[in-house]
Every structure is written in C-alpha cells, then in structure tokens.
C-alpha cells in the first residue's frame, strides 16, 4: 500500500492503494466515480477511457503509480452541466442503446476533437477504433462526432 495524491476533475485526492492498481479501480472503488467502466482490463474495449493531460487513456491498463502529477478528467468532470458539445451531440443523435460504453466513447471523441477540431470521416473511424460498442451504435457515434465538430 502506498499513498498517492492525484488530480481528478480539478480536485486533489489522496488514495491509499497498491502501487499497481489501475486508475480505473481507484476511480471506482476508492473515489466512487462510477462513470468510468470496466470492460476488459487489457485496454482493448475503451469503456474505461479517461483524459490524462487531455489524452484518451485506458484507465484499466494504467497503474496509479504512473500517473504522477498528470491531470485526470473523467466523464463526470468533462463538463459541469453535461453540456460539452460531444455530450450534446450524443443526446441529439440519441446514440446510446445499453449505454455502457458511451462514457468511454465520449471521452475518446472529446479528446479527438480537442486535438483535431475538424476530423475527416476516416480520421474519426480510426480515432474511435479502440472503443468497442457491443450494441454497434457506431454509425450514430460517428454522426454525433461530426455534429459536435461543427459546434466546437
């Protein structure tokens, strides 16, 4: 066990966990930020995606010991009112089916648009290829990203 101070959604948090604990389980078990999901534990499905200094990081494969002073943003901290352009576009296109993967999809999409405000369709597909949607809402996800790009 070791004490780690991490920056999550603008706040400083201290947690006492094993050094190899993935950020995912610190968020869920310790901080009860439950929007970040567990899907595979091997960075293959993307439901655990968070922003680490703005990058779309898979929190299930990222040990707490490697975070340092990098800033974590989770789906809960993406916007104060749930009105980030990507979130709004997701509602406008009624994207979710079961909804389990969508927080991860939104975190990846918002990281994409922050780096590339006007992505091509090809760039969207490639950027989102690490996020599985078992309900296969991919066409709506990509439509929503195109809408959000216009609003950003």
């Amino acid at each position: 066990m070791a004490l780690f101070t991490i920056h999550v959604n603008g706040e400083s948090k201290q947690v006492d966990v094993d050094a190899d604990t993935p950020i995912l389980w610190v968020l869920r078990d310790n901080l009860r930020l439950l929007g970040t999901k567990y899907g595979c534990g091997i960075a293959h499905c993307g439901v655990c995606t968070i922003h680490l200094d703005g990058d779309a990081v898979r929190s299930c494969a990222y040990p707490i010991s490697a975070v340092g002073d990098k800033k974590i943003v989770t789906i809960e901290g993406l916007s104060e009112e749930g009105d980030h352009p990507v979130q709004k576009a997701w509602l406008e296109h009624d994207v979710p089916q079961c909804g389990y993967c969508q927080a991860g999809q939104i975190m990846t999409a918002s990281s994409l648009l922050a780096q590339n405000p006007n992505p091509t369709d090809e760039e969207i597909r490639r950027a989102m290829n690490g996020n599985l949607c078992r309900c296969a809402t991919y066409t709506r996800i990509n439509r929503a990203i195109r809408t959000a790009a216009k609003d950003m």
């Binding site: 091997i42 293959h44 494969a61 990222y62 994409l112 780096q115 760039e123 950027a127 290829n129 690490g130």
Partner: protein
Amino acid sequence: MANSHNSFKNYKHLASYIIALILVVVFVISCKSKNSASTEYVVLSKITKKDSLASLAAFEKVYSVLMHPRCMNCHPNGDIPLQGDDSHIHNMLPQRGPDGMGISTMKCANCHASTGVPGESTPPGNPLWHLPPSDMKMVFQGRSPRELALQLVNPKLNGHKNLQELRVHAEDTLVKNGWTMGGNRELPPLTYNEFKDAWYEWIDNGAVAPAN
C-alpha cells in the same frame, strides 16, 4: 540491474578506444561508398576480414531475435504496429504518426503506460513506447538477413546511428523491454544477455551483412 548497468559502463569504457578506431574506418568507407554508383552499403568487411565469419554467425543469432514478434511487431512493414505472437495487425489499428508515438486518440502511451499493470494480456509498459518515426521507419518485417543487416548499419536508415550508437542501442530500454513484457507472451529465442553478446560480436567483428 544496477550492477549489470555499471559493468556495462566499464566494458564500454574499455572498449571505447577500439570503437573510436573502428569509427574512423567506418567514416572513410562511408565516404567512399557515397562516391560509388552502388547504393549497397558494405561495412568494414575489408579490415576485419579474419572475423567476418564470427560476425556472420553472430548476425544469424541477432536476426532470429530481431525478426521475433517481440522486436518485429514495432518494426512493421506498414504504418500500423503488429501485435501478439502471431504478429497480426494491431487490433485497434493505431497509426505510426510523424514521430512514431501514434496519433490523436491513438497514441502509443494511451495504452502503454510507463509501467504496465500485471496480467496475461495487459499492454506492456515503457516510458517511451513508440514505433520508429515516419521519416525513418526501420522496417524489420519481411527483410531478408542481408537486407536487415545492411539497413541496420546504414545511418540513413537506422536512425542516424553510427556504429557506436548502434552498438549502444542494445541497452535501449525498449529493446530490453522485448524480454520483460510479461503475460504469456513468447520470449525471443535468445536471452537478453545472449542477444547483447551476439549484437556486439556482430558489430565488433565488422557488422558483416550475409550474402543473399
């Protein structure tokens, strides 16, 4: 770990005079080859003739490691890394990007943290996980032994490394990582130390490229 690192430093120190000598020769030969019509880059074969057989034998070992998935997967033919013991195209199709670090939401470091988390198939960690950059792709996949040897010693194709720098590359953390990725990944056919010895033997004996 610290011990082996120090002992390597000592070794490097002892060897540095020899290497400096070799470097002069390399420089002379490389100038020569620039003038020749051939694009082929044959190194040191003349002055270390008596050791060329040892170099060749060593390269055979080196080649078996470099073409192993643990090394080759990040030296792919295209712009997408390979993955797994069967060297399939990386499932998520991340792209190399200009600096080899990936692109936008698909940066290598987004999944390959500085340290990985333990597990059978978790992404291996490394602080500098990357592919060769797009202006020098250092492709291993599909290269014959001769092609790979010639590529490795050519500063225009090997990341601007002279032979000394190339030699030291055996100590690169990503190279070493090939043996420490964990999970149930197959290890390269030689141990790391065996590989390092073969690498030095190949270079120190003339970095000979095998005939086709």
